[in-house]
Structures are given as C-alpha cells and as structure tokens.
Symmetry: C3
Subunit: 305 residues, 3 copies
Amino acid sequence: MKTTSAWVGAIVGTAILISGTTGCTQSDDKNTVKIKSQNQNGVSYTNANTISGLAANTNKEDPLTFVLVHGSWADANFWSNTAAELKKQGHTVYVPEYAGHGTLYNPSVKHEDIVKSVVDYITSKKLKNFVLVGHSFGGTVIQKVAEQVPDRINRLVFFDAFVPLDGQSLSDQLPPELQKVFGQLAEASGNGTITMPFTFFREGFVNTASESLAKSIYKNAKPEPATPLVQKLDLKKFYGLNIPKSYLFLTSDTVTPQGDKYGFHPAQSSHLGQFRLILGEGDHMTTAYEQPGYLAQKLYQAARK
Amino acid sequence: MKTTSAWVGAIVGTAILISGTTGCTQSDDKNTVKIKSQNQNGVSYTNANTISGLAANTNKEDPLTFVLVHGSWADANFWSNTAAELKKQGHTVYVPEYAGHGTLYNPSVKHEDIVKSVVDYITSKKLKNFVLVGHSFGGTVIQKVAEQVPDRINRLVFFDAFVPLDGQSLSDQLPPELQKVFGQLAEASGNGTITMPFTFFREGFVNTASESLAKSIYKNAKPEPATPLVQKLDLKKFYGLNIPKSYLFLTSDTVTPQGDKYGFHPAQSSHLGQFRLILGEGDHMTTAYEQPGYLAQKLYQAARK
Amino acid sequence: MKTTSAWVGAIVGTAILISGTTGCTQSDDKNTVKIKSQNQNGVSYTNANTISGLAANTNKEDPLTFVLVHGSWADANFWSNTAAELKKQGHTVYVPEYAGHGTLYNPSVKHEDIVKSVVDYITSKKLKNFVLVGHSFGGTVIQKVAEQVPDRINRLVFFDAFVPLDGQSLSDQLPPELQKVFGQLAEASGNGTITMPFTFFREGFVNTASESLAKSIYKNAKPEPATPLVQKLDLKKFYGLNIPKSYLFLTSDTVTPQGDKYGFHPAQSSHLGQFRLILGEGDHMTTAYEQPGYLAQKLYQAARK
C-alpha cells in the first residue's frame, strides 16, 4: 500500500474544494429525516423513511459509451460476447484492435505503438464522454491513453488489470521468479515472443473453464510480443490525472498470486489511490466467454457515475 | 493478528472447563455412527447417515431480539428497511437513536454520551437476552455498552465494524494519511464535524449503489461529530468479557483499505479473538437500503446460537 | 509465499518441454480468428467468433473417479452426502476409512498407519486414473499417498486442506498459541487425543450452520488422535512429483485465521506451487452436510482435466 498517499491526496483535493464552500446542505431542516418513533429515541421500523423508496429505481440503466481494451494473449475478439451484451443493454461499445495483436499481429511491437493505436482510434472516431476499460495488460494501455486524451474520458475501469507505478513495467508487478521465466521463454522463442505452456494457461488464466473451452481459448492465443510487457513506463502524468477510477476484480483470478503482495486486488488496485471496487465471480478469461451478460453487468456497475 | 493470544485465551478458558469434566460423550457407543459399508474400510454413500437428515431443519428460524446500533454519517433510519425485514421473519427489533445523531443531533457529543444513550435505552426498556449489533463506528459503541450491561447480552455482532484494541480510537484503525485528512476536515469545519466529500463517500461507502441512491444516502448524512472518532477508549473490561461474538463482513466494503493490514476482515475482526465469521455480498451502506432482506438473513446467521 | 520457486519450477519444467518443440500452433493461419470488423481496426461484436459457441458445451460432464479422504474429527461418513451427489452426476466414488478413525478408531494411531490404510485400499481395489481429494488434515494424507502411488493419480485436490512443506507437521501450519492449546488438550486427555470445546468447534468449523446441525456434527466427532497432527513429515518426494493439483477453498472457512499468513488460501494453497484455484461459498464442515450438490459441483470443477 505504498500509494496510500495518492489515495489520500485524491481525497484532500476534493475535500479542500468542499470545505472551502459555505458548508454542506445535510444539516438543513428540509433534509433532516422526519421520523415518527415509537420510542423517545428510537426509530419505528414500520414507517417508511425518505431513502428506502429509492431502492426500486436503482436498476434503471444509464446508457454509457464503452471503449474496451483487451490484454495479452488475446485480441479484440476477447470482448465479442461482452460487447454484444452491453449493446443489448443499450450501451454504445467500441472495441479497438491495437498494434501487434489480432489482425495487426507483429512480434516486435512496442508499448507506444499500442497506445498510439488506441489514441488514433479514439481521435479518428471523435469519441468522447466514454468509459475506458482495460483488461489485464490493457491496464497499462489505458494508463498511457488517459495521459494523452484525458478530457475525453469519463472514467477508467481496470478489470483484473495491471497498474504499474511510475517507472515500472507490467513485469515488475510479478514475482521475481515468474519475471525470470517469462524472460527465458521470450529468449527461447527466437523472435521475442512468449508462448505460455498450456498447463500454466489452463490453471492460471482459465481455471474455472471446462477443458474444451480452455483449449479453444488457448488455441486462439498467438505468441505474445514480450517487449511491451517489460518496458518501463513513464506514468507521472497518469498519477496526476483527476479521472474517476474503478477496479473490477473477479475473485478466482489467479494470473498473479492472490494476496496482499501480488494479487490484482488489493495489490494492483491499491496503486490507483481512490477507486471504486466492484467484485465478481470468475477468473481471468473464462467469464468473458462463458458469462458475458454477468460480466457486462459488473462492467456497468464499475462504469456508471 | 496481535490478539491471537486473546483468541486462544478464549479457547483455553473453555477447554479447561471441558477437559476438567469426566470426558466427552462422543466416544459413547450410541453416538458412534453405524454404517453399512460396501467395503471393509469404506463407507457406502447410498446409506443415509445420522447427520444428513438434519440439513432439512436448518432453516427453522429461532426468534431473537435484536438491538441495532448504527454508525457514523447515519442515524437510526439506517436500519429501517433491515429492521422491517427482521420483524417480518419473526424477530423483535429495537433501534435506539443515540446522542449527537439524528433527532439528537449535536456536533460536540462525546463517545461516553453515545454509550450512555444506548445503555439508558436498554435499561429503561428492561431489555435482556438480546443480540447487540454494531455497524461501522457502532462497533466501538457496542464494545463499551457490553462493558456496562454484559449480562443482558447473548451475543455481540460486529457488522463491517471497527474493533479498537484497549487504549485505541476508531481513528487509530485507519491509515495514518487518512487520519490526518479527517483531522483537517474536522478543523476546517469550524465546529468539530467531518463532512465527507461526495466522491469519497460514493466510491468508498456506497460503491455498489446507483448514483441516485448514492446521492440520496449522502444527502441524509449530517456532518459527523469528530470527537467520538478520535477518543482513545479504555477497553480493558471489554477484552475480559465472555460474550460470544460474530463478525459479519460484506466483501465489497472498502471504507478501510482491504487486505491484512486495514481490512475490516481480517484486520478488525481478528481483534475479537474467537469469533464467528459470516461473509456476504455488499458494501458499507448500500446493502441496508437495497437488499434489507438479504442483510437480515446474514444478521440472523451471525446472531443465532 | 516461500514456495514461489516451486511454482515457477513447475512452469519452467513444462515450459522447457514446450519451447523445445518446433513451436506453437497458435500462429497458424487456420487458427487465426477471422473477423469481419465494422471498422479498420475494430471488431464487430455482432459477428460470432470461433470461441463463443463453445460456452454451451461447458457443462457436459466428464465422468471421473474420485477417492475422497476425510480430515480430523471426522470419519468416512463426512463424505456420504457429497459422494451420493457425485455418483448421481455419473462419477465413480470411493471413500476409504483410514486407521484410527471411524470404524477403525484408535487413539494411538500414527500418520504412517493412516497413509498405509489409504494406499492399501487403492492397491487392493486396483484403482487407477482417479482424482484424490483430501479435506483438512486429509491434505497431509494425500501428500504422502501420492508419494507411494503417483502413477495411479490423475490429479490431487486439496479441499480446505493443510499442505505442510517438507519437514513440517500439520500443527506447524497453525498460529503458535493454537499449537500450544492443542498440546495442552492432548496432554489433559490422558490418552493423547484432542476434544475440541464445543464453542470453538461451532464458531470455527461450522460457523454457517444452524445450532442443531452444529451440535449433531459435533456429537459424531470422536476425540482426535493427536500424534498424526504433530508428526513432522518427510515430503521431499511429494514436492518433486509432477501430478496436477487443485485447491478448493470455501471462503467462510475459519479453521485457520484468514489472511496471508495462516489462511487455507493463500497461505496453505501457495505451498503447492502451480495449482488450479476453485473458490466456493461455505465453511469447513457445514457445506458437506447441507449443500452436498453444490460441493460436488465445486469438486468436479477442481477435479476435471
């Protein structure tokens, strides 16, 4: 939790703004809850209160625009089912492919090429007032995209995503031994890519999937360009941005070892300072294929105002 | 986990009592499970065993008496929906308002005034054999109430609650930077109260709520008197009490940073020594408004014998 | 997380094998996902992709053979309901009783006697290609059984189980103070057994149960022979085995204090190195009695290929 100060910084920033006003409205008479209590100092639970009636309205959907950024060993198809569900719920959805991946496959792509792809996509389509979602490695992509087009973005959603601190790489978020193995795999590949052993993928990335689904997802994963995973990122600007942030964590995700030190939540999430936590069931990749409607709901909870 | 010894102390206390009797009844012949096994040393899973038949009875409700103590930035209305659900399930429910809050609003209230309110409520109504529930700051209240009327209480339920150790304040349970911010907000208020910035409240206290519900709950929160949050509490007597304890943790609660160091569970919960853990879905405040039936069920699981 | 190296070791082992082949098939043209994108670099979420169609097949059950090994303060009947559910789902199930427990009750049993019981059961029945499940103390049993009959076992499933490192005992996995209490209880018994105080059992082992179910389960628990819990185990061979492993953790289990240091997950689970994580709701013992169908599903997810 090295970044508690960033978190508090965010609070203080807002706090000063508010405490500098003439006060708050909560103590106004008209906002005071009037209760008819059965007892002098008690509350009658049979009387309605002014808030309870609101619960019925909470499922009213607020149409949003989503830009979905996939992670490593994946391409834009990763989002197909989830995007369809979001659209069905009335949202507008954009799923950019980015340099080095999918139809743009290129083993020697760099992190800045990937970021440029997404920024170009956003600017060429004149997208604004959208929620930018990054999955896994995509967390590092949306950090850098946000630095370039901050005013277009309403909220950043990190979904089981890496959140390097300033000067760090994605690889720096992993246990040292795993960093070493990825380095060895990249070297052995001859072209700077990493192909995960199936067993590691099956147990770590799609642990809740059937074997057949696991194999299908694996079969579609191209060797991942290693350079963007080890590049140290200048994130000074990102950590100064004032964009609201959410972290969606699916609790069976074991891509990083769970727990305080390496877990997506709370280790990676805590880098964000103040953020909205949304928890769900699922693992790193299975949920997007098997339960896209559920994932869409969770993304909406993370994305809404 | 500094209080492991307290936990073990609780075990040893009971253990000595039991090991001092003539033994246990579990080895009596009549209690031995008789099984017809297909194999010499195996068990036939097609035969019923003496325990399996009991599962059907486990939902039989045992009517209880609840006294519900709310937390900060709230008043007795916090419990309205949940109390109604508990009553619907056949339980008796009391929801005392306490000094400085709700109808008794007073910015300069002290912790001992709050405790006195609840104790007076309990004694004036001659309540006994009840389960005392404290939410959030209410955890510190029920600790001190339990010191004064221990014989009236069947069980203490801490619900996403603070559990200071002896000599600590609620504020001591928070990250140092957050303590500082709350101090600054209290100073800036001019009357020793804390008004949370809406953003902080929305992301930290009602993260799973819709924006409209978040705003409604926020609007009803009066500036919180700061003194009771920073008063160091003498809890020597509390930590010597022999009242059964439960901790109900809703897993999306991010009022304190999640994890081993500051999380309601396991950091605050572990202060209790031996306790019954009940987990549920939800955040700090939304669940009481939006899913009171679910919360009532969880409270019952925490409260029953 | 001392055993990260073991985890990575498992990856490296597989990785070398794979990187030594002629490469991976994922970059073959025929495996490349063909997408008709609405946009140059985007993906059309209205087109089906090659993977989405698979989701429908994931519930097809793959019949497995299970050997279920119970834990302490239990006997083979612990599995009765769950075994019946697994059988109903088409699986073959074996539930060996082991030395010192149930019909073979003996206070002075040793860990090696228990292991021998299970190995003899397996070899006499000529069982092979099965999934070996160990619950709680049973985790230490399946570690040692796996050392003796590794080629018969398709996968090891640790269910809320202890996973001592080489040279450790089960007791070594517990907080020091709790180790001491168990030692005192064993001594006080006069015959080297441990009878848990009911309160400790009710709050720690069956925290989500009704009081009546808690009492019934407790009544059937014989005093547990203490020796196998404190014997230091030579596990060198186990930690060199290449058998796939899963860890099933029911998130309300509080037999060990939850958190990074003593929690079944991630503390015990991390000893396995690479493993498949399956999470579920439930506590240490209640779920097997009350929700055997749910537990059977979770065991299947942990056990399948």
